[in-house]
Amino acid sequence: MTETLRGRIAIAGVGNTKRWDAPGRGPFDQLQEAAILALEDCGLGLGDVDALYCALSTSGLPVLNVAERLGLGPNLKQADGTMVGGASFLFHLQSASAALAAGLCDVALICYGSNQRSAGGSLVSMPDPQPYEAPYRPRYPVSSYALAAARHMHDYGTTRENLADVALAARRWARLNPDAFERGPLTREEVLGSRMISDPLTKADCCLVTDGGAAVVLTRADHARDLAAPPVYVLGTGVAVSHRQIAAMPDLTTTAAVRSGQAAYAMAGVGPADIDHLMLYDAFTITTLLFLEDLGFCAKGEGGAFVSSGAIAPGGSLPVNTNGGGLSCNHPGMYGLFTLIEAVEQLRGRCGERQIRNAELALAHANGGVLSSQATAILGTAATL
């Protein structure tokens, strides 16, 4: 039996704390605020939630901690704390959609919080030792992405200028978003002249380090239509797992986003040419290039030229990372859920100066680990059902 999930589940509510530098608030504080905002967005309450999905880099038992704090325990019929890095929440989206469609639960909350910036700025290191990497002192995770970028430059002639243009496009979008953390003007020369961290990636090729909290509420589509906010329908999802250590990635220039994307397109019954709005997890400038190629928006190797043509910046042919992305809006350790939230806000027409006209179909893509896990979601308005 294959019964498609296309359009059967909707994102009913979204919550975003927009507190990117918030000393005195822990990860669970950010998460709780986002959860309340997401439920209020669609007119539901904590008492309605019967499924919980969460992952944190600061907690090994996130479901237990969150359920206790929000008082969800007694009502939970389904819970999942799958941890595959920043893509976790799009893995949760697929699992929650299946659980809702199967009737295991009725209201699913996916949530995240982090105080990475105010806690000192470095990525919290999880107990996940890598004995075959550690002696060589790569800077985690940037050196792994630098190795991918170096190979892409070698194989396809991609330049540091191409990478810089990814950062510039993100900043131009951020300047249209009053909630973005970095909104100052930025030039190509500034990106290229920024401090080198792990060649060829400079500080300006790396995402921000911020605090933040995010949550989404999922229900079956018929239920969502009776709620307070316009539902955004989940048309397709796909997940893919590749490797843990960068040396085990089969081809450093092609990610498992190829597989997650194909699964999501197949379920949604659409292709890249149909997408109006695109969110690509930009932990580093190279990831935007790789995902543009691997999700079929340009040919393999042509990501650099595509970006430098101005295609993904405001006024270009393909609006990408319209909130400013992880490079300029926010990046609280694991950013995946924010790709979904911006896609929902665009499809609801709530984006003010950066609003894409007539956006009906959006694709959100998240990455985890060191290009290790990939997850794609295709969302649509009622018109796309």
Partner: protein, 129 residues
């Protein structure tokens, strides 16, 4: 004891590091399908059988990708080496400055001591052994 005797003895990581301590750089080759792999595991990642066997590697390969990690105290190289047998591993290239390490550079391995433990590093083949 009713444990499966095929899996008796130290695990694959311990066997590998014991060999390195004895001065031998090994990879695994599957006894069933002849595929090579690194790092070691209990199963062959190509055919799925629990038949990988530790064998001494040629120690030759080339740089698949490379980065210079910048530090206040000095820069150092991190590379992914593709062994002539096929598998790749993270390591570093010594005997040249980090920025002179290029993709495609032919390298040979040597075992050095890092924090009182033997580790694998590589040097350009041209540098001789």
């Amino acid at each position: 004891m009713s444990a499966d005797s095929r899996f008796d003895g130290p695990g694959p990581d311990t066997k590998w590091s014991d060999a390195l301590k004895a001065g031998r750089f090994c990879i695994q080759v599957c006894e069933l399908c002849s595929s090579s792999q690194f790092p070691p595991a209990l199963v062959c990642r190509t055919c799925g059988s629990p038949s990988p066997k530790l064998v001494e590697a040629s120690g030759r390969g080339s740089v698949y990708s490379t980065t210079t990690v910048r530090n206040r105290v000095g820069d150092h190289n991190v590379s992914i080496i593709e062994l002539s047998e096929g598998p790749r591993l993270m390591s570093r290239v010594d005997a040249v400055s980090p920025e002179d390490v290029r993709i495609g550079l032919a390298v040979v391995t040597e075992i050095v001591t890092y924090q009182e433990t033997p580790i694998l590093v590589f040097k350009p083949e041209a540098a001789g052994s």
